[in-house]
Amino acid sequence: MTRALTGVFSAALALFPESFRRRYGDEMLEIFAERIAELSAPAAIAATFAEIIDLFFSATRFRLTRIARLQPAMLGVVGTFIVAAAFTVRSLSWAPTPSIVAQIDSIDFRAQDPAGEFTIAIRHGRPVAATIDRVPLPANRLLNLGDSIHLLSPSGDVVLAVAYYRERARIEWEPRPRYCRGRAAECAL
């Protein structure tokens, strides 16, 4: 009985976004299992029903809050574009060059999201350096996969995935959550 109810609760956890489940799912499941283990079968079924209704409302509240918080993050994307454009114009105005594309490809992005600040230096279309919270990232933790740039934690997990639009001199990324603030170089997505 406990196993079946735990399975139902585990399936209901899918109401939350994956990032939330990855962070809290195991703990929530453990607490649920401990709670219903203390109950009789009818009480356990009733408790499971109540927990699932609560999951539904909690997950809805979480998603609504997330949408409300994404709006400032979108401003961050626009801000990054403006900064990147400013760098590009400045580099173009300093000296005439044989290739405009080569100059546009040499950009330093500085951006911010709820987890903190990061920079990425791109030379000739390829990322050559990056910092997270002003700490330089070792070269082996900077990965270029097609149009994507991945910044890795010391254990090799992706802590930031950035899409680089070369022709538009622009980057976009899914804002990192605020709970990564202060440990953004290790906080896996």
Binding site: F16, F20, R23, Y24, D26, E27, M28, E30, I31, F32, E34, R35, A50, E51, D54, L55, F56, F57, S58, A59, R61, F62, T65, P114, P177, R178, Y179, R181
Partner: protein, 111 residues
């Protein structure tokens, strides 16, 4: 940090009060809240973790490095801002109780 006057729900306040004595994990926090409120508040798991998540995001609690034999179990503890928010909330509640007391609204034996 977010404005704590805006974010502190009764459950968030109860979590901060439960953590006032030191770091604790999710299930122990739920038990503590049930004990502190004489069973009047029985947080469900989803609400509990949503509240914990918001408190973490607002910097009022942090994960504690304390470990148990169960690797899934995370411990949480108050930050300085969290303790301050708990104090402010307790002060606000005490003021409300004083007002209710002056108006003779508190049942005998309730305090």
């Amino acid at each position: 940090m977010a404005d704590t006057k805006e974010v502190l729900t009764p459950l968030s306040a109860a979590i901060l009060f439960a953590l006032a004595d030191g770091a604790s994990h999710g299930y122990a926090i739920i038990r503590e809240i049930e004990d502190l409120t004489d069973g009047q508040m029985k947080p469900h798991t989803g609400s509990m973790y949503l509240a914990l998540h918001r408190l973490l995001e607002d910097g009022l609690i942090i994960e504690s490095p304390m470990k148990s034999d169960d690797a899934r179990r995370r411990y949480y503890k108050l930050t300085d801002a969290g303790r301050e928010a708990a104090r402010a909330e307790a002060g606000r509640l005490a003021q409300l109780v004083r007002i209710a007391s002056a108006k003779r609204l508190i049942p005998r034996g309730a305090l």
